[in-house]
């Protein structure tokens, strides 16, 4: 391993964990090519009753997770919280990789990928389609994140002029990023407004765009709390407890808003009766409410918010809650009468795992060989 590191003239030896990740990534890439070559029917278990599979579920989960990037930009640049600039880079790099995975999965998922560019053709674009809006916003936002991530690499190679340029226009770049995020995070929920007679009524609501927007902020904060904790531990840095407490408090505030909206919506729509049936869907709904909202709120509104692991665990619960929500909305709760059951094929799973491994590998390389965390002391001065 160290021989390879020397040959590549790397500063540090390659950690062993990179090799299995690389192997999974390569397998994923091979399977991606196979799927594009032979079609969806031979590689996936999707059917006419479940025309969207696990890839779309993963996308719907990853988009709010990658919302960490816009949430942190919002706090650092617009709320003027300078100390957060220290953690904005890891959030932005993670966001960029998250959207990268989303993009690849979407490309694999569409059946007629040979003409994917039709979504950019002004003569074809449907302005009423939330799916179109989400596609455009995500594409543009990926470019924005690319600009925000670029300094990590440019600094390594001492390219001062472009770094200076990006830093000078960071409010413009971050501003566009925040607006694009507000748009597509809410529109992701709006996409389901047309599915009133497909989506389970416990999850369908006219307030879906607002719910998805609040969820994306909570999930973004949760991802930040979890990821920063892990990165700081890995790098042996002292944990900034005050910073965690503040992230935790922000999370609790937005969670409370979300809980109020969800409660009001359930009462207003008469879904309370469905929620009290305790059939399988009602139990899943309760699970989501407890894990994703009530437990993290209990942690964050107690003294645990000041403990270094409090916001971390609240974050873990929020992430699981969001995962449940997105699995139901895109798979379990979205169906037609007497459907053929769906469970992802091994190829669908291995492609997902492979792309995830690829993202972790790139993240690992960046954390290990580049410097996504500016010196905390420098950030304070």
């Amino acid at each position: 391993m160290n021989i390879l590191a020397k040959k590549l003239k790397l500063e540090k030896p390659i950690p062993w964990t990179f090799y299995p990740l690389l192997l999974l990534t390569l397998l994923g890439v091979v399977l991606c090519i196979y799927r594009l070559a032979v079609g969806l029917g031979k590689t996936t278990n999707m059917n006419d009753a479940y025309p969207w599979g696990i890839w779309i579920s993963v996308d719907l989960f990853l988009i709010p997770v990658a919302g960490a990037a816009f949430t942190m930009s919002l706090i650092a640049y617009f709320f003027g919280r300078k100390r957060y600039e220290a953690i904005i880079r890891p959030a932005v790099v993670a966001g960029f990789l998250g959207y990268g995975v989303v993009g690849v999965l979407l490309f694999l998922d569409i059946g007629r990928w040979h003409q994917f560019y039709n979504i950019f053709n002004p003569q074809y674009i449907n302005v009423h389609s939330f799916l179109e809006e989400v596609s455009l916003c995500i594409t543009l936002y990926t470019f924005i994140l690319m600009l925000e991530v670029a300094p990590v690499f440019l600094e390594k190679f001492n390219l001062k002029v472009p770094v200076q340029f990006i830093e000078n226009s960071i409010f413009f770049i971050a501003g566009v990023g925040v607006v694009l995020s507000l748009l597509h995070q809410s529109s992701l929920g709006s996409m389901f407004l047309l599915m009133r007679y497909k989506l389970n009524p416990l999850w369908w609501s006219p307030a879906l765009p607002l719910m998805f927007l609040l969820q994306s902020v909570v999930t973004g904060l949760a991802t930040t709390a979890v990821a920063i904790n892990l990165i700081w531990r890995m790098r042996g840095l002292p944990i900034d407890r005050d910073l965690f407490r503040r992230i935790g408090q922000a999370m609790s505030l937005v969670l409370a808003l979300y809980a109020a909206l969800k409660l009001g919506d359930t009462m207003g729509s008469g879904d309370m009766e469905l929620l009290m049936r305790f059939d399988s869907f009602s139990i899943i709904a309760w699970l989501e409410i407890f894990v994703g909202t009530l437990i993290p709120m209990a942690i964050l509104f107690s003294r645990l918010v000041g403990h270094s692991m409090g916001p971390f665990w609240a974050g873990i619960f929020v992430l699981i809650g969001t995962l449940i929500n997105r699995l139901v909305v895109s798979w379990i709760g979205l169906t037609e009468p007497s459907p053929t059951p769906y469970f992802p094929s091994w190829i669908e799973i291995m492609i997902t795992v492979g792309l995830g491994a690829g993202a972790f590998l790139i993240y690992g390389v960046i954390v290990y060989y580049f410097n996504p965390l500016p010196d905390p002391k420098a950030a304070h001065s």
Partner: protein, 284 residues
């Protein structure tokens, strides 16, 4: 401390303008407004249908779809599929039974057309909801937006298409009616202008009120459909649910009209305001 420098203001304002310009890119040329009563459609009277599947076969012959041999020698599809664009299902409960024809309803204001990102699905002036494979990216959003579970996917193909009843748009262009209505031996399925078909259905209910549920499904349901149904059993039993009279896309399009401009205009303004306040108050 200065609240917000002119430089910052310009940067953020430009951010908003740029986003706005991209998101509201060229509006498509929408179909001309045609009176839905003047559009073509079909009336299916379930009380007259004998379940012969003549419509299924006529559809196969005209559109060259392949039979689905389920067991033995019979072409017996159970549901709509990429190969079967229309078929007859049987509802049975005790002594009551009814046939029901399945196919695209060709909604007056279709959810699939509203959702399709690239206008691969369009409502034509003549009535049929048409599909253009050269535009379609295969996202399958239409399969989820359709409240009648109609569009089906060509899963086995490398570059699959979406398939559904075309309301014989190619025959309509030649001045003909649909192949299935032409074949129907009992007159359970008839072709015509939507307005005339509604008048015909109202006449049948009036002449034989004991024979029918007093409702023409599709006259106003889900904002109206080009395929109209008469039945002796409640429509929910035939899989035709009560969806109210508002078109399915109405809520989605209303939300878009409110949400997107609010975020595009309000977003940058809020960001600038927040930044100004943060600077003045010295948040850190």
């Amino acid at each position: 401390m200065p609240s917000l420098s002119r430089r910052d203001f310009l940067k953020i304002a430009a951010a908003g303008a740029c986003t706005a310009a991209v998101s509201s890119a060229a509006a498509p040329v929408l179909a001309k407004e045609v009176d839905p009563l003047e559009q073509f459609g079909m009336l299916y009277d379930a009380t007259m249908c004998v379940g012969c599947n003549g419509c299924t076969n006529a559809c196969r012959q005209w559109n060259n779809t392949s039979p689905e041999v389920v067991s033995g020698l019979y072409d017996a599809p159970k549901t709509l599929s990429v190969h079967t664009w229309t078929m007859i299902q049987l509802y049975q409960e005790g002594d009551t039974y009814s046939f029901v024809k399945r196919a695209c309803m060709h909604c007056v204001d279709p959810a699939c057309v509203s959702g399709c990102p690239v206008h691969a699905l369009q409502k034509s002036d003549e009535g049929p909801v048409t599909y253009d494979p050269d535009r379609c990216i295969g996202c399958r959003y239409c399969m989820y937006t359709c409240p009648f579970h109609v569009p089906r996917f060509e899963w086995d193909a490398v570059l699959p298409v979406v398939a559904k009843c075309t309301l014989c748009v190619d025959r309509v262009k030649q001045g003909l009616g649909s192949a299935c209505a032409e074949r129907c031996p009992t007159g359970a399925l008839i072709w015509g202008k939507r307005g005339e078909l509604i008048a015909e259905a109202e006449g049948r209910i009036k002449a034989n009120p004991e024979r029918y549920v007093d409702h023409i499904y599709g006259k106003d349901d889900a904002g109206g459909t080009s395929i109209l149904y008469l039945s002796s059993v409640p429509f929910e039993k035939l899989g035709l649910d009560n969806m109210g009279t508002e078109p399915i896309p109405a809520l989605s399009e209303r939300t878009g009209n409110v949400f997107i401009p609010s975020i595009l205009i309000g977003g940058p303004l809020l960001l600038m305001a927040t930044r100004a306040i943060a600077k003045r108050e010295g948040w850190a």
